[in-house]
Point group: C2
Chain length 292, copies 2
């Protein structure tokens, strides 16, 4: 860890690093058809805040891991995230045309190719996960698979789907988001830490839970307050699709207070780690304060 | 290996075994939404010849592997196969309504849920792969990921998509099928063997290549000669969709001769293994002689 480096510089360096890792991982697919690889690259490269890779690197720093090993899970988790956006934007799901300020993958490449690009990105995530010699490949692979699957992200999306136009309790909304976005955020943090020395896993899990939920609460607030131009994706989508959100359940002001209280929870959880947890703390602050 | 057991009995025992493994693997998804898990179970259980798991068990027997370890890759490869069928049947792909004699997953559960069920099955495949203590989890995971991804199955499907209504040379058709169906068949065989003692990988690869291609040639023949009732899926689909096949390229009689010559190639490749390769040989015979 470089303690005097400003967060913006730290972030920018790691964003450049992961961009390079992703670019390399998607250039090297032996003999895959160029049109498919182009759609995969379109979905992954040149956009996004790279929140999950940043969390993986920060958790890696906490556990004193070699960043060259963290590259692999950081890239893998971002590929899972990118594939989920591609499938989520398809006409049979959210039917969206704008993502990261560009036409969505199926608008640019057609529905069938976008479907396959998402499928291939999920497989590629598990391939790239093993591009470094992980200390424990079995448990790291399980972390990612469980976070992506039916009890994690895909499960959260199914719950989302089943509740369009329906009322949802705060507990159910929280459960949905802990799966839909929280599971992958938690996996990024756990996989990054698993590249280094053992750390307090319970504390890290409490941090991951609070940060994952804070991310979603802020997302819901921005969907109401932001413009499509700032967000790089269609604003006001939740309301248009009649989806339950933190804002519809709590109101705007209370949702913002909830995000603040989750930030405090995240900060408390990191207390045991001392200054080694600085970057994780800064990422949560950034997530809560962001405008897109 | 039980040398005196008839092939039909061996097959039936392993089909029951894999059904049980798949059932158990899909029952245990912690907290996943029931509707999603139901769609996943619908897509995987109660149907299919289980060719890929059978190949994994047979390759495991060749390498003297514990079947309890082979269960994991056998189930994983079948889940990847099942997810690919769900996505392949979607309206934006082949738009099919019949699979394994039942309505396709999206007909039964809706498009969005079918999409998510396929996505979750792919993740679950990588989770279940680690349900046993594999001798080499890293390389086994890579075998599956590469076979499923852009240079393997998804890549083959993209090539297929790009050639609807277009002419294709015999070499291009072979390359497409080596990816689209061959890659997963090869992975099943390699993963099964990797559960045991080292074997001649080149010979096994030659066997896998010939058997994978034979499977596809016979599929193309059956698409022309079979009925939907016998096949359990829509017959005559390739012609209706104007897709290049072995039958359109070679004619029916020559396609059948080609399947026979691939069977001979597979048999030759297994020569080095002696009687230990009996089940692999019998599976290839069965693939070439099958009626569905």
């Amino acid at each position: 860890m470089e303690p005097d480096l400003a967060f913006a510089v730290w972030t920018s360096e790691r964003q450049q690093r992961i961009e390079h890792v992703l670019d390399r991982s998607l250039a090297r697919i032996d003999g895959g058809p160029p049109a498919l690889i182009e759609a995969m690259r379109y979905a992954v490269l040149g956009g996004g805040k790279r929140v999950r890779p940043l969390l993986a690197y920060a958790a890696g720093e906490l556990a004193d891991a070699d960043p060259a090993i963290v590259d692999a899970p950081a890239a893998a988790v971002e590929m899972i995230h990118a594939y989920s956006l591609v499938h989520d934007d398809l006409p049979c799901m959210d039917d969206d045309v704008l993502r990261r300020g560009k036409p969505t993958c199926h608008i640019a490449f057609g529905e069938a190719m976008a479907l396959l690009a998402g499928d291939a990105l999920q497989a590629q995530a598990f391939a790239v996960l093993h591009s470094a010699r992980l200390p424990d490949p079995r448990s790291t692979c399980l972390m990612l698979a469980e976070a992506a699957g039916a009890s994690g992200m895909a499960g959260g999306q199914a719950i989302d789907l089943l509740h369009v136009g329906k009322a949802m309790s705060m507990a159910d909304l929280e459960d949905m988001h802990l799966r839909k976005t929280g599971a992958l955020i938690r996996a990024a943090i756990r996989m990054g830490a698993a590249c280094g020395s053992p750390v307090d896993e319970d504390a890290l899990d409490r941090y991951a839970r609070a940060t994952g939920l804070a991310f979603q609460v802020v997302d819901d607030v921005l969907d109401v307050e932001g413009s499509s131009a700032t967000l790089g994706k269609t604003a006001g989508k939740d309301a248009a699709q009649n989806k339950p959100t933190y804002v519809t359940l709590l109101g705007l002001a209370e949702a913002k207070r909830h995000a603040e209280s989750l930030r405090e929870e995240a900060r408390d959880a990191l207390g045991v780690f001392g200054p080694r947890a600085r970057r994780l703390l800064e990422i949560t602050d950034w997530i809560v304060q962001r405008a897109n």
